[in-house]
């Protein structure tokens, strides 16, 4: 079997951009689990909300990027409300409990979205149709912009966690929350902040991905399995692991569909199982049972 190198090239770029979206979504899930032991599937809801808000703001103002900013803000606000009203009450419970709760939130939220925006899929216009020539292959510039956004977010999150005292405290709390609490640090505030960051990144992911898909209420569910795999493979609580695993899954999905389409759906699962057999904590993560 021979592959057209131009197809491979555009597939690699496609994989990078979808990997970038996975990363934006998975980082929130991963941090929420690392810090609060909460399996926050509701992040996929903030992803849909981000996309719909981007759509609506775009329609109203004609400003795509303003819409994306509003989508990220809406994601952050929604997750702030959910943290305050719901998760705060269940931190002490088992992680499986939070998973069921967040699954419920995701479905409840989808209902609300259907109520507000209806069930008809909405198109969002691509902000730039420019193409970019790489070795004779036309690459849409917008896909590169997505990759760029993911890289910038990675750098910002890294700097936040490694260079600021609040970020360092979050990492310390991922290490041992009791030791942080014992020093008189308000871990509740760290939890809220982490949750809001997660929600805003999910909203951002929905906003920037909206032009490449049709925005519909179920879009979060389509991502769910892939994002979950990215988090598990990367290891819970590790940004580096999440980024690497998002890259891997992005490529597996896009090259997989190039080589043999049905494999694109299956391959990530196979890879996840293989990695978990070798390293049950994922590439870089902490064990599920600690704390």
């Amino acid at each position: 079997m021979s592959l057209d190198p131009r197809l491979v090239m555009s597939s690699v770029i496609f994989g990078l951009s979808i990997g970038g979206i996975y990363f934006l979504l998975a980082i929130g899930l991963s941090l929420c689990f690392g810090l609060m032991r909460i399996i926050s599937l509701d992040q996929l809801l903030y992803y849909s909300i981000g996309a719909f808000v981007t759509y609506s703001v775009g329609v109203a103002t004609g400003q795509f990027w303003l819409g994306v900013a509003a989508g990220a803000a809406a994601g952050g606000l929604a997750s702030l409300a959910v943290e305050r009203l719901i998760f705060r009450r269940i931190y002490a419970r088992d992680p499986t409990f939070s998973m069921i709760t967040s699954f419920g939130l995701l479905f409840g939220g989808i209902g609300i979205i259907k109520f507000v925006w209806g069930v008809v899929p909405r198109p969002v216009e691509v902000p730039t149709l420019a193409q970019f020539d790489v070795l004779g292959t036309q690459i849409p510039v917008y896909r590169l912009i997505i990759v760029g956004i993911a890289v910038v977010v990675y750098a910002l999150i890294w700097a936040f966690l490694h260079r600021t005292i609040v970020g360092k405290a979050i990492r310390a709390a991922i290490e041992n929350v009791e030791h942080v609490e014992g020093l008189g640090i308000n871990v509740g505030r760290l939890f809220t902040l982490t949750f809001v960051i997660a929600g805003a990144l999910s909203g951002l992911a929905g906003g920037v991905y909206a032009p490449l898909i049709l925005v519909d209420p179920m879009m979060g569910l389509e991502m769910l399995a892939f994002v979950f795999m990215v988090v598990i493979i990367g290891g819970l609580g590790s940004i580096k692991g999440t980024a690497i695993s998002a890259l891997i899954i992005g490529q597996v999905v896009s090259l997989g569909s190039l080589i043999y389409a049905p494999a694109a759906q299956m391959a990530p699962f196979v890879i996840m199982l293989a990695i978990l057999l070798i390293r049950p904590t994922g590439l870089f993560g902490v064990a599920l049972t600690r704390r």
Partner: protein, 256 residues
Amino acid sequence: MIELRQLRKRFDHADHDAVGPLDLRVPPGELLALVGTSGSGKSTTLHMINRLVEPSAGSVLIDGIDISGQDPVALRRGIGFVFQAIGLFAHMSVADNIAITPRLLRWPRDEVAARVDGLLELVHLDPAIYRARMPHQLSGGQRQRAAFARALAARPRIMLMDEPFGALDPLTRDELSAEFRTIHEKLGLTSIIVTHDMTEAFLLADRIAVMRAGRLVQIGTARALLADPADEFVRQMVRMPRLRAARLARAMGEPG
């Protein structure tokens, strides 16, 4: 003053109380040693005083105020805590470890820096050398000193220390515990220190509280405990230092 009234803790799914009922008063300025066998509830008791563990019944009063109505975060800021496992944050420098609470409270930068250096000097770690070190670059004793400094960072009036000298050689142990006594007096702290070492408790503390199976068996000065142990368990515990000294003397006396 720290006061425990009929304090009890039963963990979920346990069939008996890990602690209590426990009554105890630690007057201002006292250094109390909490001794007892492993699993007797010493750590749990300390954790209830700063609300890392919520009691099942009874109350803790600090300066006469029931802490259950207080904001746990504010409460903990007034209490220095040294964990049984030390608990320096591995990815932070010594200075960041010490400064984390003041910095999150947004103390001015120069004040934080001065505080870090002052505390490092207090615990006899040269700031110029140790400020930037990571915990894994310290010896066990140095880590312990840094953990002390961190516990003191937010200017607490109470210190709770859970076996702070656990994994140290006897010489360093003696040195550090003597230094802690000095710091305790200098800063006018009220302190509770958990220890397994009876000799250390005798040398360091104003009074000694002996716990067994979650209950307070006896509390008093070393002299009182030696003169009039409440029961066989306390008698055995308090005789330990002397028995060992005697054994040592015998061992030394025997031809080599």
